[in-house]
Amino acid sequence: MSKMSYRDAIRSALREALREDPRVFLMGEDVGGYGGAFKVSYGLIEEFGPERVRDTPLCENTFLGAGIGAALGGMRPIVEIMTVNFSLLALDQIVNNAATLRHMSGGQLSVPLVVRMTTGGGRQLAAQHSHSLEGWFAHIPGIKIVVPALAADARGFVLAALRDPDPVFIFEHATLYPVEGEVDEQAGPAEIGRALVRRAGDAVSLVTYGGTLGKALQAADELAVDGIQAEVIDLRSLRPLDTETILASVAKTHRAVIVDEGWRTCSFAAEVSARIMEGGFYSLDSPVARVCSAEVPMPYAKHMEEAALPQVPAIVAAVKEMLVAHG
């Protein structure tokens, strides 16, 4: 066990995979010579060479499609799309090929593709560089979506994704890369499709994932000062979604607040809310609340961006509102 940053944990998994399986290779913009836009693949091209740590031209649709083709051809590509903002250029290959080839071919093909993308806002990069669109991808049957919040999961999901015969998309929140956590480098793959309770409580279920886990835990600490024990659930996987863990928590707490950095309308939080309503209706003492981003293209000025994103005070307020009205 050691303490390492989220980015180092991912690198450790990539290195392990490149060493142990000759079919694995990395492909993306600036993953090689530049060392990775977020320094995740730093040093790997020196160790494994340019064939296996492969820089691409700026052509997201085609290098992601080439990843699909390479996977069909027996390789285990890890395609890096620099950020989810640029993945929009690759949506055709993702939605019309990666997600469909298995079903469309009547089960003849599997697409064992791994795609990593950076997601999220909060760094004053303005409207075109601050999206959180993992909820959109979770809409598509045929692919899997994981959203590691902690360094150990960032590592574990790379290993799990490489073992999965279907396309797995890993969304890494931009602000998490330097955050340190406990990582066991001997540990095996993380389990795709299982949420974890990061903090036990009985007053309310705070359901979240990825970049907002930290804020939810902070909010829980503040609530505890007032004697309110919040249970915090880290979803870890958006598709498949671990409804069981969510419902078990709500059965206990009778209240739920979902924290999601996507825009509120048609957010992933809406899906979670629907599932809680479907399966936990009779446990609820309050309507399910959502704390999401404001409906605005991400502003540049710091105070505006902060106002647009979900923040700790808003989470705390949402919980207290629930308790005061129906306690």
């Binding site: 409804t243 069981e244 419902l247 078990a248 709500v250 059965a251 206990k252 599932r275 479907e278 399966g279 936990g280 209706f281 009779y282 446990s283 609820l284 003492d285």
Partner: protein, 382 residues
């Protein structure tokens, strides 16, 4: 009319490019059709000679409609019959969402029910829930409240309303029938002496519950007569009559409180008199208690109505669409009758036929009634 585009359900025949007598080879363009995607040529797939044009230019018809008949010169491989539908897709099988089990000791009540219980002063713990997993819902609270202030059942009112609706339905059907069907009427008087004599002897051989009413003789005679004049056993579909293979005589039964139903005795011609009697009795019972099946109401291919009990000599009924005829029998009366030049008293019944003139004419209708008469003269063969 071929299916030319993905969502096409109908097309307009614009122009014929060939005429009857023209030889056709594969690939020839035979007509021009207009679809919502524009004008498209229709080609011929099998060689032959154009025999008859069925649809004229300007007509818009659904896909699948026969446009023309081509005489197949070469015996090519038989084309598969037009598309059989794939099995009907039931609604997608969505697994029920996982429901968290109810923790023990906790009341399973919806938020709305809880609020209502509070407003009405009902103790939810004493209420039995009818929601999933025994959950208490609004209606459970409402029922509990209603039970507390019991109101008398509104039975008579409901029955009256039902009667009114039935009358309205009958009125609409009869008006439509008279409006759309060109009725013609025939009557004949039938000597029932032989039939009634036979019936009396036959019933002596039967136990009381198995005894036959003369009505089943009339019904069976009608069913057998239909075999000789089968066009009266048709149903009217859209714009033409379609012969029914099966003969299901509908028997008019009056209901208490007014109104009439005419459910089918299935396969009337094939049943014995005893079976018909049993079926008829069962129908009457169920008609009056409201227990008829919808197939019994929709299956009749002809109806027989008898006002014998009411004391009129003849009844000319209104045809029940989509049937094309209705047979009426009046009461059996004693009348003077000529037998071998001598005057005797005979029991006679007036049989009438109201028939759809689009389907049959007086000559055929007359043959039908003559057949009924003839069959009733040989009751042992019924």
């Amino acid at each position: 009319m071929p299916i030319l585009t993905a969502d096409m359900s109908a097309g307009t025949l614009v122009e014929w490019r060939k005429k009857p007598g023209d030889a056709l080879k594969r690939g020839d363009i035979i007509a021009l059709v207009e679809t919502d995607k524009g004008l498209i040529d229709i080609e011929v797939f099998t060689p032959g000679v154009l025999e008859t044009i069925v649809v004229q230019p300007g007509a818009t018809v659904p896909t699948g409609t026969v446009l023309a008949v081509i005489r197949d010169e070469a015996a090519t491989g038989a084309l598969p019959a037009p598309a059989g539908a794939p099995p009907p897709a039931p609604s997608p099988v969505v697994p029920p969402p996982p429901v968290a089990p109810a923790p023990p000791g906790r009341l399973r009540i919806s938020p709305l029910a809880r609020k209502l219980a509070a407003e009405l002063g009902i103790d939810p713990a004493a209420v039995r829930g009818t929601g999933a997993g025994g959950a208490i819902r609004r209606e459970d609270i409402e029922q509990a409240a209603a039970a507390r202030a019991a109101a008398p059942a509104e039975r008579p009112r409901a029955a009256l309303e039902r009667q009114a609706r039935l009358r309205q339905a009958i009125a609409a059907a009869m008006a439509r029938s008279k409006r759309e069907i060109p009725h013609y009427y025939l009557a004949t008087t039938i000597d029932m002496h032989g039939a009634m004599t036979w019936l009396a002897e036959e019933n002596l051989k039967r136990s009381v519950p198995d005894r036959l009413l003369y009505g089943v003789l009339l019904i069976k005679a009608v069913a057998l007569a239909l075999k000789e004049v089968p066009e009266l056993n048709s149903v009217w579909r859209g714009s033409e009559p379609v012969r029914s293979e099966a003969i299901h005589v509908g028997v008019a039964i009056s209901l208490r409180g007014g109104g009439l139903v005419a459910p089918a005795l299935h396969d009337t011609a094939g049943q014995s008199l005893g079976d018909l009697m049993r079926s008829f009795r069962d129908l009457v019972l169920r008609a009056r208690s409201g227990g008829l099946r919808s197939s019994e109401l929709s299956d009749p291919t002809i109806t027989v109505t008898s006002l014998g009990e009411q004391g009129v000599e003849s009844v000319f009924g209104i045809i029940f669409p989509p049937q094309v005829a209705i047979v009426g029998f009046g009461k059996i009366v004693e009348r003077p009758w000529a037998v071998g030049g001598q005057l005797v008293a005979r029991p006679v019944v007036t049989a009438t036929l109201s028939a759809d003139h689009r389907v049959s004419d007086g000559h055929r209708g007359g043959l039908f009634l003559a057949a009924v008469d003839r069959l009733l003269q040989a009751p042992a063969l019924l």
